[in-house]
Symmetry: C2
């Protein structure tokens, strides 16, 4: 029995992503042909500023106890912020009224491993937003809360983008691996002719996280533009091997996920401190960039050979030195950007969430158990109308 | 355009209610004919125990700041508790698999009046549960979060039962008023031949709250069984008039709602303390019971004449002295229980939530702006599948 019975030909969906960095709202409009899940076109993508109070509030939630009233208000506040940006986006860039909006919400807690809570073992994730309130504010159906269903089935609730990678990049002729370089890097390996459950997808290690942390600490900038500071430094072999040796995340088998709780200043200094003499900060940055490229390359090589096409996205592609290093470690491979497939590499996630919303409305499963570790496939999301 | 297109003939829905008193989970199974919204039969209703930790946690949330991790875990914990009871209920009492479940969730915050939050005016409500997790646990579609949409449109998010009263009790021949006596009492006035927007519905004052508070304080019992302690006391005219004089909630025009934040020990003692001599506790309880009946009767008389049938429900109907007092204040009226209409008076709310879930799935509006104060009618709820 079909539980929802849309006529979903030629629908326009909007995907909205806000990451843990709280640096803005990414919005993408996607037109779905309705013929097959693989047929869609990205109409336009834009980014909107996030009030700085949000980052302050999210960080406060992680470091101190908060009044329940504030958390309740925050759900509706975030809905108002999303609503304003979405309304502005639609008004300014879309000629046709979209049919639905799919939202990630603002993560403020993610605990995929269960722990004792009263008399039960409980795992949970919390993406702040109220989709019913948002649906009223924008006057459109909203799909949200995509991670909960997978968590309830024993999964990590992440990664969720691999199913989008599958429907977008799977080929009968060519194996492909999608690499998204955000703060953390992740890979989706899509062997040629594969089925959904043959996808290997996981967080493979640092993305921009180490580079950004160290740049902020030593160069008073938020990031190393084009990787120019790193390029001006020298490779430090000793630091490089210390990083390799200290990185225990690399020894864990997937499914796995990580974050800035691990790849942070402490991770960097644990390796620097093992060196008895001072290392020039530019050399550290050069080596951290090398190390980031090296771990990405290493993870790709584990599951592919050089006939596999690499398709990259995420903010890291703007760090030209990082990309040069990556190309160097993967000399035999072809590396393309998602741009060549009509996917703006800065907006892959918001596009993927529009796709996840479309999957929900078609009652198609959204998780990939081989990637998340859930005990079965399931429909992801909740709908407000 | 229909956004959801069920074929909803002859569907079985389950409604689940947990109140702010945290004293258990009420579950009702309802069969909807599909011919009209008014045609349904309650199959069975049962109550399940709530782990006592829930009451402790909810009270803690109201009195101190809490870790976001605990709140996140609590959403999933409540979903597991709901899931166990629902699965048990289905297994033990239903021969047919239900088609959907509609849940209230556990209220831990309700702030219908907006206040400043960062740069915006924000109102919010927070019913703890994760409906996507619950849908996976029970393997059934779940509708929930019924209050949010009304709040987003400027309403109180309450009362939500009046639309159920309308479809159940509206008559072309007879005016009716539904009175639910829980901790707080509320009325739904349904004039004969009325339209939805002619309903008057609001919290009218104390239900069992004052009686229970005083019984606990002076007689070491949770409630006054059958009203026997109150019946053994004497009516104190001075206290009665003090209560009338001090009760400023009675002077507010609807839409309005109240709670135990107002009708509590302080409310009682503010009136007792005005009397220079000691009053026998049995006399206080007698007078509080009279006062409760008096305010209910008074609110009914404001909007009806004695041709209007009174239909009562809620735990208060088990307090025979309260009901006798009420009958006395409403001598010209006919008073019936919802039982006479096939609605177990102890389970009216869980039955009403099954109905609200059914409304969502039929894309029918669920709020009544004249009762909630919202700026328009709207579909209430979110769906997980």
């Amino acid at each position: 029995m079909k539980k929802i019975n849309f006529s979903w030909n030629n629908r326009i969906g909007i995907g909205v992503m806000t990451g843990t960095s709280c640096d803005g709202i990414d919005i993408s409009a996607v037109q779905f042909s309705g013929n097959s899940l693989s047929e869609f076109n990205v109409i336009i993508s834009k980014s909107y500023p996030y009030p700085p109070e949000i980052k302050v509030f999210v960080n406060k939630c992680l470091t101190e106890n908060v009044p329940i009233g504030d958390l309740s208000q925050f759900n509706y506040y975030i809905s108002l912020v999303y609503g304003q940006s979405i309304n502005q986006f639609i008004e300014q860039y879309l000629r046709l009224k979209p049919d639905f909006v799919a939202v990630h919400g603002q993560t403020i807690w993610h605990q995929p491993l269960s722990s004792d809570f009263f008399d039960k073992k409980v795992a949970s994730t919390y993406q702040s937003i109220n989709i019913s309130a948002l649906a009223k504010i924008i006057g459109l159906p909203v799909v949200g809360d995509f991670r909960a269903g997978d968590i309830a089935l024993g999964g990590q609730g992440a990664p969720l983008v691999p199913i989008f990678d599958y429907y977008t990049f799977r080929s009968d002729k060519k194996s492909r691996v999608c690499v998204n370089i955000g703060g953390i890097s992740n890979v989706s390996v899509i062997p040629k002719k594969c089925n959904l459950n043959e996808i290997i997808a996981y967080d493979c290690g640092p993305g921009n996280a180490l580079i950004d942390f160290f740049t902020t600490e030593h160069f008073n900038k938020e990031y190393d533009e084009n990787g120019e500071i790193a390029r001006s430094g020298l490779f430090n072999k000793e630091l490089f091997y210390n990083l390799i040796e200290n990185d225990i995340y690399q020894q864990i088998q997937p499914p796995k996920s990580t974050g800035k709780e691990y790849y942070n200043n402490k991770f960097i200094h644990d390796s620097i401190n093992l060196i008895p003499h001072l290392v020039n900060p530019k050399d550290v940055l050069n080596t951290l960039t090398h190390y980031t490229a090296y771990t990405i390359a290493n993870n790709i090589k584990k599951y592919t050979d050089s006939s596999c096409e690499i398709i990259i996205s995420g903010g890291g592609i703007h760090n030209q030195f990082l990309i040069d290093c990556l190309a160097n470690y993967l000399r035999q491979y072809t590396i393309n950007s998602t741009e060549q497939y009509g996917i703006n590499p800065d907006y892959k996630e918001s596009i993927a969430f529009a796709f996840l919303g479309y999957l929900f409305l078609n009652e198609e499963n959204g998780n990939i158990p081989s990637a998340t570790g859930a005990n079965k496939e399931t429909i992801l999301g909740t709908l407000a109308i």
